[in-house]
């Protein structure tokens, strides 16, 4: 016993300074690794917390008898006897039909994709197949800058300037409508479609192009019959991601749609989207009321839709990369 106690300080004294250097950090190493890993788990935690807390406030729409006095899952979708498909939460008899809002979101998204997909994909094809290095160095950062324009600024532009232009050209019934909002939304969506498509085009191996050229194809044949088909899953993913961005965008549609929940197919009249409804009504709603829970339910639906869309896009891209051998 005594011998042991005596020898321990002796060995420590005799050990080289480097020995201590190696030893002490080991605990530190372990602590650091654990801490870093713990922080990294925050992202998983965040997704779970969002799911839980948005879901928690949405759930009473399904379960609460108190809420069911005003709204049930059936009345969210089914037509009202007199009013039809109507979203009118603030009235003597509140009406919570969410179909007009869904339709609004779809109309605006449709216009946005109609504009943004051809533009984004073509521009990506240009940058990956035609543009020289210098041109690329201008276009890519410029599109990044476009992606960096805050959506409230795009919405402001649509409200103040674009709406007047559209009305002058098309003579639309309402000044703010699905076309104005859709075109403005396209500005926000185009950078995503461009960058994901461009990645896809770049992932097509150069050997594909060389082989096609060697077989006597022209440049346009190489692009349309080799590069685009090979990159097709990536293009699809870019459209899917663009769709996800478009249905979730808020400030542009709040400012540019006119926010009238009209249930019709017209693109020339004002409309109201799911996101804009949450943005405009949550601030004034009584916490815990049926209206409050319905707004959270809309948010939960939105969250689940974008989650599905993103997971889908990721799968498509992953599969494409594996097929193209992950090469450049």
């Amino acid at each position: 016993m005594t011998q042991l106690v005596a020898t321990v300080p002796a060995t420590e004294k005799s050990s080289l300074p480097s020995h201590r250097l190696v030893r002490r950090p080991r605990i530190l190493e372990a602590i650091a690794e654990t801490a870093i890993k713990a922080v990294a788990l925050l992202s998983i935690l965040s997704v779970l917390l969002i799911l839980f807390f948005v879901g928690k406030e949405a759930l009473p729409v399904l379960t609460s008898a108190e809420v069911h006095k005003e709204v049930t899952v059936r009345t969210l979708f089914a037509a009202h006897a007199e009013a039809g498909y109507m979203w009118q939460p603030v009235s003597d008899e509140p009406k919570y039909n969410i179909l007009p809002l869904f339709l609004g979101t779809l109309k605006v998204t449709f216009v946005a994709l109609l504009v943004a997909v051809p533009l984004g994909v073509s521009a990506a094809l240009y940058v990956s197949e035609f543009a020289g290095r210098r041109t690329k160095e201008i276009i890519k950062p410029a599109i990044e800058l476009l992606a960096g324009v805050p959506s409230v600024v795009i919405g402001f532009f649509a409200l103040v300037v674009l709406a007047s232009w559209v009305q002058r050209v098309f003579g639309t019934e309402h000044r703010l409508n699905s076309i104005v909002a859709g075109v403005a939304l396209a500005v926000a969506v185009v950078p995503i479609i461009f960058s994901v498509s461009e990645d896809a085009f770049r992932a097509v191996p150069g050997s594909y192009r060389s082989a096609a050229l060697a077989l006597g194809s022209t440049r346009s044949q190489v692009m349309l019959k080799v590069v685009v088909p090979a990159a097709a899953p990536g293009i699809a993913a870019s459209i899917v991601l663009g769709f996800g961005r478009a249905i979730g965008e808020t400030m542009i549609v709040v400012l540019a749609t006119g926010n009238a929940a009209i249930f019709d197919g017209s693109f020339e009249r004002s409309t109201r989207t799911v996101t804009a409804t949450i943005a405009q009504e949550l601030g004034e709603v009584v916490v815990g009321s049926a209206h409050y829970h319905v707004l959270f339910a809309l948010g939960a639906l939105l969250f689940l839709s974008t989650l599905t869309v993103n997971l889908g896009a990721e799968r498509i891209v992953g599969r494409m990369r594996r097929r193209l051998g992950g090469g450049t």
Binding site: V22, S46, A142
Partner: protein
């Protein structure tokens, strides 16, 4: 390279030549239209807002029902908000990226799950973050703090600077992670091996060798996050932004004004649209200049560090 040489030497002929030119013209036009969108928006805002910008506009508070005066409280609020957000998002984002690139094994399930979550977090609509901030930070965390520390008096269970910042921190986390990860991956493996071979521990290698090489990328991520956060409105509408405040926020539980929210309020709730229009344009210009400068700085830093790493490799 050979493909390019081949393309040149082959020189397409006849009818296909027309197809080639048509395709080139159409795709060029698409790129030009996208650039034109940027130019038109920026041009319009600059032309509309330039005459409004003055020292008073930058340094004074709004007056006369927000039809006169300046936007200083909104600038201050935006800066305070993004600063607090950065304190949350950057360390967490950098740590996540370090875990993913330095610690996790390539086939680690947890790492894959983290990646999926980061990608999804980036796709969550900003308005959902607003709902989350309200449901989690204000109604749950804030209420608990009030119950425990303030005898149930509403202190943190209400829209506040701190809750809006934390909400934005989660929203911008993916921006930081993606940029940092790119930077860390660009550091050559030989550097890590050399450091380890000299007897440095893994942590020493990360802190003294890898991270200094990746500073550019980390800064890029931080700046892009600030730029993104400065422009977001939907997540802060219910979590802390105020319509108008006669004072600047000084405590974490104060509300704040914000350039983006101010734009929204002026554009939609102004009693006199024509009189607020100049102020509105000025506000948008300030916001746009702020986000553009940040973006340009980030793009430049990234381009430079990419080039340096390419030269090193």
């Amino acid at each position: 390279m050979t493909a390019v040489a081949l393309k040149r030497s082959l020189g397409p002929r006849g009818r296909s030549h027309v197809a080639d030119r048509l395709l080139a013209t159409m795709t060029t036009a698409a790129a030009a239209i996208i650039l034109a969108m940027l130019a038109v928006i920026v041009g319009n805002v600059v032309i509309g807002g330039a005459s409004v910008i003055s020292w008073e506009f930058i340094s004074a508070a709004p007056r006369d029902g927000m039809t006169a005066g300046g936007v200083f409280p909104a600038i201050f609020g935006t800066v305070a908000l993004t600063l607090l957000m950065t304190i949350g998002a950057v360390p967490a984002g950098v740590a996540t990226a370090i875990y993913l690139t330095e610690y996790a094994s390539p086939r680690s399930r947890i790492a894959r799950l983290i990646r999926v979550c980061i990608a999804n977090l980036a796709g969550v609509p900003s308005i959902v973050f607003g709902l989350f901030g309200l449901g989690f930070f204000i109604s749950t965390v804030g209420k608990q703090i009030d119950a425990v520390a303030y005898n149930g008096q509403v202190t943190y269970g209400k829209p506040s600077l701190i809750w809006a910042s934390l909400t934005l921190a989660i929203l911008t986390l993916p921006v930081v992670v993606v940029a940092t990860e790119e930077a860390l991956r660009a550091v050559p493996r030989e550097m890590r091996e050399a450091s380890l071979a000299l007897g440095a521990t893994k942590l020493q290698t990360i802190v003294k060798v890898v991270l200094p090489q990746a500073t550019g990328g980390i800064m890029t991520g931080g700046i892009l996050a600030v730029s993104r956060g400065a422009g977001e409105v939907a997540p802060i509408m219910f979590t802390g932004a105020a319509y108008f405040l006669p004072f600047l926020p000084t405590y974490p539980n104060d509300q704040f004004m914000n350039l983006g929210y101010h734009t929204y309020v002026l554009a939609t709730q102004s009693p006199d649209v024509d009189r607020t229009k100049p102020i509105l344009y000025g506000t948008v210009l300030v916001l746009l200049v702020l986000t553009f400068m940040l973006n340009l700085v980030a793009i430049t830093i990234r381009a430079r560090s990419r080039r340096r790493l390419a030269a090193n490799a």
